[in-house]
Symmetry: C2
Subunit: 101 residues, 2 copies
């Protein structure tokens, strides 16, 4: 299993971001072919401070081939275009293979 990890900085307009992300983007993202599971997590600081990032979204695929193949689909491209429309400057991506657990 591999995953694409989207890491979001804190948005300036939290309400607008949250509304678009949870009300629209996640549904679009969920249509990505080959996507097995999505896990969205909101960071918090144990001491009540501000964590470095706001949100993390992990998207699981069977393997690297299915992940790469998904990029070429209209559904993935639509989700990507939507993302850029409201969070282009906030998000960064990394990729990882699940090796235990």
């Amino acid at each position: 299993m591999v995953k694409m990890i989207a890491l979001y900085k804190h948005p300036e307009d939290l309400d607008a971001f949250t509304q678009h992300y949870f009300g629209r983007h996640l549904e679009l993202n969920g249509k990505t072919p080959g996507l097995i599971r999505t896990e969205v997590s909101k960071f918090f600081d144990l001491r009540g401070g501000t964590p470095e990032h706001y949100l993390m979204c992990e998207m699981y695929f069977e393997n690297l081939d299915t992940l790469k193949a998904s990029f070429k689909t209209p559904e993935s491209q639509a989700a990507g275009a939507d993302l850029q429309s409201f969070a282009g400057g906030l998000v960064s991506f990394s990729f990882a293979e699940v090796v235990a657990g």
Copy 2:
């Protein structure tokens, strides 16, 4: 559900790190009371470069109370001491609540 996320920089001695981490640390860590699930992922770069981090370990707990309570247990403290013995300068922690997926 909440998770503690341990993020590891690339170790200088990869073999020694890997041997200790997968051969010893994960087993110790798995004994932490209240720990529901652990997922370990190894980062890769889509273009074959070197990713920013080497490894991520996500440890899931039912809620913040069970996570905090686990810190006080001998098992968690043993895992923490073991971690400091071979990866103290490599690891950083963050915390997140799973909000979707």
